[in-house]
Symmetry: C2
Subunit: 220 residues, 2 copies
Amino acid sequence: MNSLTEENYLKTLFVLANESGEVNVIDLSKRLNIKMPTVTSMMKKLAVKKLVHYESYKPLRLTERGKKEAGIIIRKHRLTEMFLVQVMNFGWEEVHEIAEQLEHTHSPDFFEKMDEMLGYPKIDPHGSPIPDKNGKIEWKKYSKLSNCRVGEALKLTAVIDSSEEFLKFLNSRELKLGLKVKVKSIEPFDGTMVISYGKKLNETLSQTVTKRLLGELIQG
Amino acid sequence: MNSLTEENYLKTLFVLANESGEVNVIDLSKRLNIKMPTVTSMMKKLAVKKLVHYESYKPLRLTERGKKEAGIIIRKHRLTEMFLVQVMNFGWEEVHEIAEQLEHTHSPDFFEKMDEMLGYPKIDPHGSPIPDKNGKIEWKKYSKLSNCRVGEALKLTAVIDSSEEFLKFLNSRELKLGLKVKVKSIEPFDGTMVISYGKKLNETLSQTVTKRLLGELIQG
DNA sequence: TAATTTTGTTAGATGAATCTAATTTAGTAG
DNA sequence: CTACTAAATTAGATTCATCTAACAAAATTA
């Protein structure tokens, strides 16, 4: 059995690897808000438990077992988020923090029941895929809004950031998953975009925002 | 903010005080499966935090603040049990272990929502009172089945033990809260009772069991 | 390639929660 | 009242997760 702390390292390692390929000690350190020497020693510990491959000065890699265990934690997190939104009527901006705590619950039955009540969902309220019971994830290849060109249209399918602040911002602009957004113009200097969607014909979004919005390109 | 460990000491202290009045180091030690010296040092720590009154060799007592915090943890535990049974369709024998974990979730909203969905219940699935938001509990004075005499009848309202094993035993005899049970005979040697209820006319229950069943006497 | 910066590791300390062994206090039984 | 037993405390060790300071390796820049 892994400790809560170990679970957080595994999960973060998994997430970072999927965000950016190679994960270094400093990346984990920053994401977890934990100093590098602490990360190094935890990596050694997890290596002994055969959850990570660890070699000094090399990028950090989860073993197959590590990936599976991390995937299961992420599954629990995302199922919980879905449950909070669908069953308990929370807003998508409220659920991340709560799921961060509930994901460490050790009770297969609890998550089994959630999954059943939700009808075996494949994605969470932020559009992220829910790993299966073996921790395996099916990745979709979405485009970032920030990479779109003028005239292109995107159907929003996921957000990259589930923080309350970001989602509240999206709420304030009535931006939600499923919307079709069209790029009207891009400021070359800083990448700020003007987009239209729904009833909004001229919303301006900074690159900080457009980099966090994913979707499927719509031809036409 | 109290640690998970501290929360468990507070909760157990509260429960033991309500079970048996005075609580000694050894009682807490046994209930928590933690050695006495560890309990002593935790009591000193909680005393510094003004959660318990601690004096060497004296019984352990929660302060008002300690009672409030403990009550709130118990509230979270019992609301969770109710939620698991009512909303998620778990059996009453399955929920204790899960609630034991979820009770440490720090999110007023989460429990607020549960409470609302459940219609502000006053008792949990085992008949125990749910403390209010200030941790205050309203105790009912129930009778133990083990204290009843031949010919008396009891409406079952609560169980004293929420363990899976005990509740599975009750399930196997179709014993549930709300039932009216009548004492048909008592073996003087060991207190074993023969009772009738529902369609069962001759069920034999050991004192181990009858001591754990509470109810209201029915005059008849 | 040499100098500098960034990244990573080693060594050693700290605090929380636990333990065992030894000692002390309180309660009980002669 | 003394002796014994049970309960509680003190002292000191251990493990986990963390830190800071110092050093080493790798990467980058000049």
